[in-house]
Amino acid sequence: MRSTRSRWSSYGWYWQRISGLLLVVFTIGHYVTVHWTEAAGHSFESSIERLANPLFQFWYLGFVLLGFYHGVQGLYNIVRDFKLPRVLLVGIMGIVIIAALYFVYLGFDTVLTVHEWKHLP
């Protein structure tokens, strides 16, 4: 069992770096498109214009998924460094994973239902 566990944690180590590097690219794109000017990031029109674009939808869904993967994996790396009782480790990670899944759903729902709410006053 021990060898299996260390094999898996080495995958986590590798993908943490790969997803991190991808997130740097995503974040630069996010800052350039959304935060170049104040109006770009803070107006309803510019937001729906972006979110209605399939390319941007794809971009944001990937960003949310990758962000939560990297974040939850990073939290696990931190929590695992403390010698916590197993109940506490499973409890903390369980709560965070369930919350992350709900917020992935929330983000996907906001992006994918843009045609329903873009005409609201």
């Binding site: 170049w36 107006s43 309803f44 974040g71 990073g74 939290l75 931190i78 709410w117 006053p121």
Partner: protein, 160 residues
């Protein structure tokens, strides 16, 4: 006579119980405080630049995971329509939130640049031998981009 003997044994048992409880409490009070142990370890560490970067990477990482939740929650207002969203965004153009946005950029920037440094140290052949240069680049590029973002946020030069 019998009554006194019973009373005597009850007292002896109670006294022993009080004694045991006292021992437990004293043992609890005499054990080292975990916070004190932690603080002594922290003081004993050699706080070299790599350790500082490691600690900052973890703290900023936790902050960013928290912010990801807040960000998705805040943008959920889009679903309520134009008026609600514009009202919320008005809040974010106040000076307090502009400074907060700038500090958030510092957190993102450090985590990104230090992450690139980690990847270079781990994956490139030269990274592990150029640690000092890489750390200088992280903080140098970080401060420069922080100033640039300050101009973009507070002066908004590209506004149309």
């Amino acid at each position: 006579m019998r009554g006194i003997r019973v009373l005597e044994s009850v007292c002896r048992i109670s006294l022993r119980r009080v004694g045991t409880a006292g021992d437990t409490i004293m043992a609890y009070l005499q054990q080292r405080s975990p916070i004190k142990t932690w603080w002594e370890n922290v003081r004993r560490y050699r706080w070299h630049a790599g350790l500082v970067a490691w600690v900052l990477h973890r703290i900023t990482g936790l902050a960013l995971l928290g912010y990801l939740f807040v960000h998705i929650w805040a943008l959920r207002t889009l679903v309520k329509g134009s008026a609600a969203f514009e009202a919320e965004m008005q809040l974010f153009t106040t000076p307090f939130f502009k400074v907060a946005e700038w500090l958030l950029f510092a957190v993102v920037l450090f985590h990104a640049l230090n992450g690139i440094r980690i990847a270079l140290v781990d994956f490139s052949t030269q990274g592990a031998y150029r640690q000092r240069l890489l750390l200088h680049l992280v903080y140098g590029i970080g401060v420069a981009m922080m100033l640039l973002m300050g101009v973009l946020i507070f002066l908004d030069p590209f506004a149309v």
